[in-house]
Symmetry: C2
Subunit: 267 residues, 2 copies
């Protein structure tokens, strides 16, 4: 049976609300996801929240009921609370009727099974949560295995990233690594490192990509450091008719990933 | 010579600040763009602001000086003001050192020269300024002519859209039209209307696209209305390995547009 919490000053509300900050997410190893769609996406992957907050008076929904039953069966905490408290937790203006608190999904690099998927994203210093969330959605679309975060990337478990991922976060493995660590791991097994760059004339449709293909996406403003470009097996350029840098990082990732996927579909 | 304005309550500051609202943009036929990069992008296309606001004490920049000279030569108004007033105008937290007030760039449909570019975007009820701005950037990248907005789209001249377009707004024609009006205009001349849909098994790489190709992108949440799908010359599906709807609207637009561009490059 769900229990009810009514006050803003309730310690659990305060604690969960603190998960909007990276520091607290890191300390607790927990993060927030909101909304029936995203929580159902997670559930379909067998991932359940440790705590599930429901708005009192919200219209009942079949998928919501199924989620509550599963969380309770798994020994999770189901908590009824006022819609405005829920909004306070998620920091979103429009009311959410569901907020889940999940164990963070960070995978250590040695644990990644690179052979399970033909495409992986490697994001370097990606700063925008919208871009990272979109990259996860693209990963889901092309059947990628996940995203490896290099250098100072935005937190993959921030409320904004989770929201932008529309639940794709739960379909993708997520790892963080320093550059040297990543390259050492990559070279221990099969894997083609492909960078996009403005410093080459090699068209992105020319190479024959070989899975598992690791698509290295550089920082939104600066692109890839030269040293990183040099470490790539293949460095390619997406043709741009207007300004040279008119594609944003996640869109460039999509164009690259669909080329790799299309080659796989043809072969 | 620039003149200086020092008070928040100055009528011109108030008036320009009001351009953050759609109602006032429409009344005045003006919109705001911020930052050296975007304003320079416009200048390179021969588009100058009617008013140019500069932050007092900002570091001088060659491109900024060139912009000031051009605006003054064209009889525009160059105004020095405090950085915090400028932030107030643009509504952005981090200070901008340049804000331009531009004449709106809406083109009437009959004035669009469809033959000037092989690709055009047609956005239907696109609600997110980030998506519309990104679509403009993609348009710039693939050499598209512009974007035609159908139904209740987000304002292409909102501060958020202009910002997300990173200046691509100045490289793309922008028209608004009702659906019936658009179809009537389209059928008066050459033009292939291509829709992406989840309701077909026709792979997006199968058709031979024929320029000018009009890529119809449906609303973020609902996709295209059935009637609109039926009006398309070609209805295709982008393969998705995960959930059926995992690509967002602008990313789907990028995948489609690069397929059309790649076919053109091969032929």
């Amino acid at each position: 049976m769900p229990r009810e919490i009514t006050g803003f000053s309730n310690p659990l509300v305060k604690r969960v609300r603190s998960l909007r900050e990276k520091k607290h997410r890191k300390q607790e190893g927990l993060f927030l996801a909101e909304g029936l769609r995203i929580l159902t996406e997670a559930r379909e992957r067998g991932i359940l929240p440790e705590m599930l907050f429901l708005a009192t008076g919200a219209r009942s929904h079949e998928l919501g009921e199924a989620l509550i039953a599963d969380v309770e069966a798994a020994g999770g905490d189901v908590i009824l609370t006022a819609p405005d408290i829920l909004s306070k937790i998620s920091g979103k203006e429009n009311n959410q009727t569901l907020v889940g608190v999940y164990r963070d999904r960070l995978t250590r690099l040695p644990k990644l099974d690179r052979r399970k998927a033909p495409i992986w994203f490697v994001a370097q210093a990606m700063r925008d949560p919208g871009n990272l969330g979109t990259l996860m959605r693209i990963g889901d679309a092309v059947g990628a295995g996940g995203v490896i975060l290099i250098d100072d990337c935005v937190d993959p478990f921030s409320v904004e990233t989770v929201r932008a991922s529309m639940g794709a976060l739960f379909t993708q493995d997520i790892a963080t690594a320093r550059w040297g660590e990543f390259i050492a791991w990559l070279r221990e097994g099969p894997g083609q490192l492909v960078g996009t760059s403005l410093n080459t004339n090699h068209d992105y449709q020319d190479p024959q990509y070989a899975p598992p293909t690791f698509l290295l996406i550089g920082n939104e403003a600066r692109g890839l450091p030269q040293e990183y470009e040099q470490a790539c097996d293949v460095l390619v350029k997406i043709p741009m008719m207007g300004r040279a840098d008119s594609l944003n990082a996640s869109v460039a990732g999509a164009v690259m990933a669909y080329e790799v996927l299309n080659q796989l579909r043809r072969s």
